[in-house]
């Protein structure tokens, strides 16, 4: 039982990272219906930016976190501006945008490998690790930090989407882009903002994961990117609380496959859950039932 509870905790910390990433996927999908496969690579770039801010400029962790989020927001906007906006303006089909996203993903992975080499590099330990023994539980300060930062960012995101003017514009664009532009909402600006927020969250996840595992490399975004995408789909793609829940769920499933001794089935279990959820609820756990408009 004690091991089980410890594993639940492990799963929640791992899931927090998936959740942060899944939010980016879900937001972009919710607004323009694009699965931005380059999202996992923005997370990788965030880790590298954090690495250089700490090792070269000797900034402290919190400053690094905020600067990395800002830098990743810019990168996200840049990717949207260069890769997706021209397609949208030409009225290209959605599949073209999806293929472009995969292209951008490869470009970032291979570009970073070319520039920095493919080896893992140790992420500086900007915060000294302390392990707390609470009863039978072992929890580190970094795990708590990851959880707290993730939850704080999710709450901030929910606030932005529900309470601010920009959030209202985002929701309007997601319902009907054309109608939104008719009532005076700047669609391009709103989409750009969505990419900025999603990428900032990915950047934060990158720095947190660097600090947690102490190891970063140019291909680190691939697997978490796919897991986060699954988390978003399981939670109901386009639904923000769904992405958070999906992230934690995936983290827990992965961890629990270890605790029952079938570690080789870790990834298979995640996909099995994806298939099961989609069979029962095709739009995800929190997804709304909606038919395609004709």
């Amino acid at each position: 039982m004690q091991v089980f509870i410890q594993q639940i905790f492990n799963g929640i910390f791992l899931g927090s990272i998936y959740a942060l990433l899944a939010l980016g996927y879900t937001m972009v999908y919710g607004i323009i219906g694009l699965i931005n496969f380059a999202h996992g690579d923005v997370y990788m770039i965030g880790a590298f930016i954090g690495f250089y801010l700490i090792t070269s400029l000797h900034l402290n962790f919190w400053v690094t976190l905020i600067l990395t989020m800002a830098a990743c927001a810019l990168i996200g906007m840049l990717i949207e501006f260069l890769a997706y906006r021209p397609l949208r303006h030409h009225g290209a089909p959605k599949i073209t945008a999806l293929i472009t996203a995969i292209g951008v993903s490869f470009l970032l992975e291979n570009g970073m490998t070319f520039l920095f080499g493919g080896d893992s590099r140790p992420f500086p330990q900007a915060i000294k690790l302390v392990t707390y023994h609470i009863g039978f539980l072992d929890v580190t300060n970094i795990q708590i930090l990851i959880f707290v930062v993730a939850v704080a960012l999710m709450i901030a995101l929910q606030f932005i989407v529900q309470k601010t003017k920009m959030g209202r514009a985002m929701r309007a664009v997601s319902v009907d882009t054309e109608a939104a532009s008719i009532v005076g909402i700047k669609v391009d600006q709103t989409i750009s903002f969505t990419f900025a927020i999603g990428s900032a969250l990915a950047g934060a996840a990158g720095v947190l994961i660097g600090l947690y595992y102490n190891s970063i490399d140019p291909l680190m975004g691939m697997t978490p990117g796919i897991k986060a995408f699954i988390a978003a789909v399981v939670g109901g793609i386009g639904v923000i609380p769904g992405a958070a829940l999906g992230g934690w769920l995936i983290g827990l499933i992965e961890t629990l496959t270890y605790s029952i001794g079938i570690s080789s089935w870790k990834d298979a279990a995640v996909y099995a859950v994806l298939i099961l959820v989609l069979l029962v609820r095709p739009t995800g756990i929190f997804g709304k039932k909606e038919g395609e408009k004709v």
Partner: protein, 395 residues
């Protein structure tokens, strides 16, 4: 549609002809290369550029140093004649196509009596067929994959040899070391699900270990979160944790295991030996950690090691690395084979290499087995707080 059929028929015909012709070529019995005149030609086909360049360059240092020493002391003595050793070095650029070209060039055009290299197992496998066609023996200084010297049916590749030990052999050594030296009668294994290297090591370890294996868990190359596995392992009783994998994941496993409070000894193969391991794990966590190595100046496998290390250091102002020592031994193995068979004919050199017995190299005293793998000492190094505290030659 008709066009397509014609094309397919033509391709089929050509490939049939190619198969028949190549069959003929293989049947024409190779007579081997003889070194004429006063020089023995030995080819070096090695990674001097590309992704494995650091291995190749370190190995080449040892190869060149061995040739220099041999020539300084009179060369190779065959049939009462002193012959100088001449190396012909080709860069295989860490590329499987280039490596086959280089091998073909050395064996068929330059007509060398033997070839050393390449270092990387995959490159060696790509280079071997061209050398075998011309019946020129090839010595892998550092390729540890079990399959290198074997054909698919398990029989020996007649012209493939190696200086280093194999992956399965180091698995056996680690099993013995854990049980006999560490007195660990229980172990847990945490291996890489995606690599042949890891699978081979686990199989060998399980076959040779006399104690109890309490659990075997797997990860995937590229994984970074091992907390779940470690939480599970933490509640099982074992005295040593065997991690058959490479430094990237091993470094993180060591870090996360030590942070979770696992105090058991951690054992690994030669895949551990890279400075990145210490950086990823954090120096203080690399305590009670053991791994196998090919060579260690502080754990002399025999009396040859000290003079080699001293003279090398004097000349190059640096310590010889494991790769350098392996390259050095590969050249001396070829010399020994030639002198034993009293011939520089490549077919005779291959026989000589296959018969090597109690050959004293700086990486150990070796005897070739049926599959052309040397049986020799394996060095096991121990680390505390990221610092090497001991090294021991284990058999």
């Amino acid at each position: 549609m008709k066009r397509v059929k014609q094309l397919a028929a033509m391709i089929g015909l050509f490939s049939l002809m190619a198969i028949v012709l190549s069959g003929c070529a293989a049947k024409a019995k190779a007579t081997g290369n003889d070194s004429k005149g006063s020089e023995v030609l030995v080819g070096v086909n090695i990674e001097l550029s590309g992704s494995a360049a650091s291995y190749g360059q370190a190995t080449l240092k040892g190869i060149n140093y061995a040739a220099e020493q041999i020539n300084d002391s009179g060369g190779i003595k065959v049939n009462g004649k002193q012959m100088k050793l001449k190396l012909i070095t080709k860069d295989d650029t860490s590329n499987n196509y280039q490596t086959a070209m280089a091998s073909s060039n050395l064996a068929s055009s330059a007509k060398v009596s033997a070839i050393v290299g390449p270092c990387v197992s995959a490159s060696f496998a790509a280079a071997l067929p061209k050398a075998t066609e011309a019946a020129v023996p090839t010595v892998a200084p550092a390729g540890t994959a079990d399959t290198l010297t074997q054909k698919k049916d398990g029989s020996v590749q007649p012209d493939a040899f190696r200086t280093c030990y194999t992956d399965s052999y180091q698995g056996v050594i680690l099993a013995h070391y854990a049980y006999n030296d560490l007195k660990a009668d229980t172990v847990a294994i945490l291996g890489d699900k995606t690599s042949d290297y890891s699978a081979g090591l686990i199989k060998a370890f399980k076959g040779a270990y006399k104690g109890k294996i309490v659990d075997t868990q797997y990860y995937q190359a590229g994984d970074k979160d091992f907390n779940a596995t470690i939480t599970k392992l933490k509640n099982e009783k074992f005295k040593a944790l065997f991690v058959p994998g490479y430094y990237n994941e091993a470094g993180l496993i060591i870090k996360q295991a030590r942070q979770a409070g696992i105090k058991a000894a951690i054992l690994g193969p030669d895949g551990f030996s890279d400075d990145t391991l210490f950086k990823l794990a954090g120096k203080e966590n690399v305590t009670d950690v053991y791994y196998t190595n090919h060579f260690d100046a502080t754990a002399p496998a025999n009396d040859k090691v000290r003079p080699f290390v001293n003279s090398y250091k004097k000349k190059f102002k640096e310590e010889p690395s494991g790769f350098t020592a392996l390259g050095y031994d590969a050249v001396f193995m070829i010399k020994e084979a030639m002198e034993k068979r009293q011939s520089t004919n490549s077919i005779e050199v291959a026989k000589g290499l296959a018969e090597l017995k109690d050959f004293e190299g700086v990486t150990g005293t070796m005897t070739m087995d049926r599959l052309h793998n040397p049986k020799k000492d394996v060095i096991v190094v121990k680390f505390n707080h990221g610092v090497k505290v001991s090294a021991k030659a284990v058999r």
